[in-house]
Symmetry: C2
Subunit: 236 residues, 2 copies
Amino acid sequence: MAMTVHRSLVAAVPMFAGMSEAEQDDILARASSRHYAGGTVVFEQGMLAENFYVLLSGRLRVTQTTAEGQQTIVRMVNPGDLFGIARALRRTDYPGTALAVIDSVALQWPMTDWDSLVEGHPRFLANTMLAMGQRLQEAHTRLQEFSTEEVERRVAHAVLRLANQGGRKEADGIRIDFPISKQDIAEMTGTTLHTVSRILTAWEKAGVVEGGRQKLLVREPHRLFLIAEGNQPGLL
Amino acid sequence: MAMTVHRSLVAAVPMFAGMSEAEQDDILARASSRHYAGGTVVFEQGMLAENFYVLLSGRLRVTQTTAEGQQTIVRMVNPGDLFGIARALRRTDYPGTALAVIDSVALQWPMTDWDSLVEGHPRFLANTMLAMGQRLQEAHTRLQEFSTEEVERRVAHAVLRLANQGGRKEADGIRIDFPISKQDIAEMTGTTLHTVSRILTAWEKAGVVEGGRQKLLVREPHRLFLIAEGNQPGLL
DNA sequence: CGGATTGTTGAGGATACTCAAGTTAGGTGG
DNA sequence: CCACCTAACTTGAGTATCCTCAACAATCCG
């Protein structure tokens, strides 16, 4: 269901930041847009990387599966994010699987256009490098959390990240506005859904969050932050 | 102890790959080289990022320290590696501390030259992006290890990485040819020096490695690989 | 030679995992 | 619209891994 795209749709997309309208048009002319229903796979780990993408709306989950079949969530893809840029890592296949967790729309370019975009549009290259820098920093932050923090704090950090990147303000807190299961949170924090369930139950009793089946509302972000920073006894 | 640098010294440095000699000379003209004795700090976490670097020889350890004072080793810097590129992450300070673990020589550029290098030398930008891509992949690999593997396997992976990146072949195995303490390995794998000591002792008894104070020789890389992949009962 | 850093080893205990059984919520089809 | 089925979640009990605490030994450096 490919179709061409107008500039106005990508005004706020970081990849196009600092570009002239003409330059944006030039790049968009090679793109097509595509809709992915919730639950649909955009690409799968190991697949030949034929396209790279920018998410316009919706939400994706990128996972990696080990040889033994264990899954980890590498990141959530939010609107405006680049994803599937295997070429930038000098790879010909996708290192992970991208799944639309809700209905999503993405722009796509054939990977064969990558080199000419990089060479012809220094702005594109610079913006891509910036995005990779941010991902690198987030990866380092998470590594430090894994190295030094116990499970409850890691879960607190993960939930805060979800709230920051994909949260919508509501009357009584910040709502994670896409379906997120305990299993998902477990795969982000390197624990089990059982432990996540116990932790969230304790937080819920203390009034910090409000759970539900694939639902999550952060009632008191500040207290969650205290738990994440370890300045709090811990509610478990 | 700054001084100018000749092209021949950087023939094998990835940052200069694919550049004409004239281009290399142009970039090198702005660099100075500096020697760091073993144990010396190149830059410290939080410091204003005034330079970026390429390591010519020696070995650095980059660490991050948490608010509570816990240290983690972000990476080892090997000859040829770019480091201290805070600017690429849109930071004005260094996110970690770089320490020379042995006598080392690095090229340095003032960070004020970064933008003009990036804009004037597309090759430099592309090579930098590639380096970041590799670091991002390594970070994801380590995250997956933290998420899914027990300590012994994580330590095995860390030792294999050390052997691959900083190993020298000897008669009876691969020697890590810079000083590495159990504490270092613990900070790479998110465990304690006690546990690392116990693991290495067990491996040593089985003839897989040979330890010593800040010394490490991998006698049987293949068996270590099996432990890392979990195809082995585990020697602990 | 003496002090400091690094490493070893043991005992005990806490965190979080596994195993197990059940409950709730939501979607599906009759 | 209700009954059923499945996926998501809850909760408990037992246990393994690994951490903490502690004391000591070895190695290096000045």
